[in-house]
């Protein structure tokens, strides 16, 4: 039973992070390799607001709003300049952004672990589930948030005006622009939402188990989840997250815990060999370098 719970928690983490990769890729065909760092930055923003603002809920809300703003700013100041450049150049600029964020985070908050939960004055009770399994409160919350975020994204993309614009921009940017859709606004929104969901994941993980620079690795391991599901499919990100989590927890349990950091990438390689466009993704030809 504990096994199922572990898979669900890890799957929820991966899925929540992976939807950020999917949002950006689906709308602008850019692979955001700074997503792990942006997620970590979101968690550190919570650390900052937790120590600066008295009320815990205000601190949380402020940090979430800030992370949304960070995503939009990243688009406005960096990625907007990369539109029309080679795909590789755009991806590498996200890599460079990631390195920069890592340096800044290290400079501002040092390498020692932070515990925003303690600063906010919350505790993290362990909940007993039927079947003798345990789950910590914030892990359960994380599963709930993932469900809410995905439900929200589905409704948003299918029914809202801006969601429809995002889908249109992803399908055919030229036609979308001709129909009067402001592509820059759509892209900025996608970056904002991606950073927002990533930062939510980062904050919840930090609230659950503390935070240091190794969180980037979690973000990077969520990338195979996005790709296994299909880089342009939200359902895929959910399925991919669960699949990667299942394999990872299974390998840790039955084979070798040391493999934990490699398993997602092995799944990734296997997927690239069998079905490069992922479980639910659309087949496409990629540009040359």
């Amino acid at each position: 039973m504990q096994f199922v719970v572990n898979v669900a928690v890890l799957g929820a983490i991966y899925a929540l992070i992976a939807c950020g990769y999917v949002l950006v890729y689906r709308v602008s065909r850019v692979l955001n390799l700074a997503h792990g760092e942006l997620m970590m930055l979101g968690a550190y923003l919570l650390v900052a607001t937790a120590s600066g603002i008295g009320s815990p809920w205000a601190a949380l809300g402020f940090a979430v709003a800030l992370s949304l703003a960070v995503g939009v700013l990243v688009y406005l100041f960096l990625m907007r300049r990369m539109t029309g450049e080679m795909v590789l150049a755009a991806v590498l600029s996200t890599v460079a952004l990631g390195i920069m964020i890592r340096g800044v985070v290290l400079l501002v908050w040092t390498a020692s672990p932070q515990y925003p939960r303690a600063a906010l004055g919350w505790d993290n009770p362990s909940l007993a589930l039927p079947g003798g399994a345990n789950i910590s409160f914030f892990s359960a919350l994380l599963i709930g948030v993932t469900a809410v975020v995905y439900a929200g994204l589905f409704v948003f993309l299918r029914h809202s005006r801006w969601g429809m614009r995002m889908r249109a921009a992803g399908q055919n940017p030229l036609l979308a622009a001709q129909r009067g859709i402001n592509l820059h606004a759509v892209f900025a929104l996608a970056w904002g939402l991606a950073t927002f969901t990533g930062a939510m994941a980062g904050m919840l993980i930090a609230l659950d188990s503390g935070l240091d620079a190794t969180m980037v690795m979690i973000g990077l391991k969520a990338f195979p989840a996005a790709l296994v599901g299909g880089l342009d499919s939200l359902v895929g990100a959910l399925a991919g997250g669960l699949l990667v989590a299942l394999v990872e927890v299974g390998v840790i349990r039955f084979v070798d815990p040391l493999l934990a950091d490699v398993v997602p990438f092995l799944v990734l390689v296997a997927m690239l060999v069998i079905r490069p466009w992922g479980l639910f993704g659309t087949r496409e030809e990629l540009d040359r370098v």
Binding site: V95, A96, L97, I99, L258, L266, D287, V289
Partner: protein
């Protein structure tokens, strides 16, 4: 024609022999000679610190040249360069530790392992392009690093593998000056190999593949074979660089081969300028010296003692900023700047630009 004419008026190639000459004009011959003299004199005038820096630049330039061939000319993106360096270093370390094999066995063996890994890294390239290929090399990087870490823990070398100084012709290579010349020879060999590969059939095939795979195939180029060649050759070069790194340091640890190292190599070819061997060398120089430059700058600032703990972080942040600046404002890298300066002098006193450059 396999290479552009030199930027000197009145230089023409009159025979087939002229096509194959390394240095076509007297100026370039003089410049190469002067450069060779400077490189040869350096260890006799430089301080040990500068000599170590020079050696590091030489090591980095081998890897940068290999990556430039792969990405800058053949157009295959790789984010797993550190994995190949690690493979070379670990092959050397393991062969030395377990079997006490000499230099002349371990280094070629590292090249062989690198070549085999290159085949593995390259196989996805037959099916995947662009981003997906980059991602698959990223995944292989993690696999190689995992294998290295696994070996370290299984054999109880959890802090790393120590390697004794190698013996060459019955002489123990230990002095920094000797290492400098060995690595200089290796770097020059890498440059020479790259240069000749580029003007051979493979080099032309790579450029055609980079320009357009479908057209290349239509022209009768065996795309799959030449892609694999590119991966195997450059991976072998990189693994040899890794092996030399291990022998030079006398120590191998998996910690040294992080994803950050791969990114640094990619940064070298971008900062240097894609599609140019000289760019790879410039990029290796720039990226290797960059952290020392930052450190020196910070030491010169007021309150240096207080800042000392932040050097690593500042370094990383500044490196990211510089990489972004190059990508956004100077996508052709240092070579782009050099070309502009040269054009300015070539065209002086006219302010026109050479056609084809915006």
């Amino acid at each position: 024609m396999s290479k552009p004419l030199p930027h000197v008026s009145g230089c023409m190639r009159l025979s087939y022999g002229d096509e194959f000459r390394l240095f076509e004009t007297r100026i370039s011959r003089l410049a190469a000679f002067g450069f060779a003299v400077v490189l040869a004199m350096l260890p006799f005038v430089a301080s040990p610190f500068v000599l170590d820096l020079a050696t590091q630049v030489l090591l980095a330039s081998i890897g940068a040249l290999a990556l430039m061939l792969l990405t800058g000319f053949a157009g295959q993106v790789s984010l797993g360069h550190a994995g190949l360096l690690a493979a070379g270093a670990f092959t050397t370390g393991i062969l030395f530790r377990e079997f006490a094999l000499p230099f002349w066995v371990t280094v070629p063996a590292a090249g062989l392992v690198g070549g085999l890994l290159g085949l593995v890294f390259g196989l996805p390239s037959l099916r995947l392009r662009g981003l997906y290929l980059a991602v698959s090399t990223l995944a292989l990087h993690f696999v190689v690093v995992y294998l290295g870490a696994e070996y370290e823990t299984r054999r109880g070398f959890s802090t790393g593998i120590l390697i004794d100084p190698p013996r060459l012709f019955g002489h123990e290579i230990y002095a920094p000056r000797e290492w400098y010349f060995i690595l200089l020879a290796a770097a020059l060999a890498a440059l020479w190999i790259s240069f000749n590969l580029l003007r051979s059939r493979s080099g032309r095939a790579w450029r055609a593949i980079r320009a357009n795979e479908t057209v290349a195939a239509a022209l009768g180029i065996r795309v799959a074979r030449h892609k694999l060649y590119a991966f195997v050759i450059t991976s072998a070069m990189t693994a040899v660089a890794g092996a030399l790194f291990a022998l030079y340091r006398g120590f191998v640890s998996i910690e040294a081969f992080s994803l950050y190292l791969s990114i640094q190599y990619v940064a070298m070819i971008i900062i240097g300028g894609m599609g140019s061997l000289a760019g790879a060398l410039l990029g290796a120089l720039f990226v290797t010296l960059f952290p020392y430059g930052i450190e020196a700058t910070m030491a010169a600032l007021p309150g240096a003692g207080r800042l000392a703990g932040d050097v690593f972080a500042v370094n990383q942040a500044a490196f990211g900023v510089v990489m972004i600046l190059f990508l956004v404002f100077e996508p052709e890298g240092l070579m782009g700047i050099w070309r502009r300066v040269r054009d300015w002098f070539v065209l002086w006193p006219f302010r026109a630009r050479l056609p084809g450059r915006g």
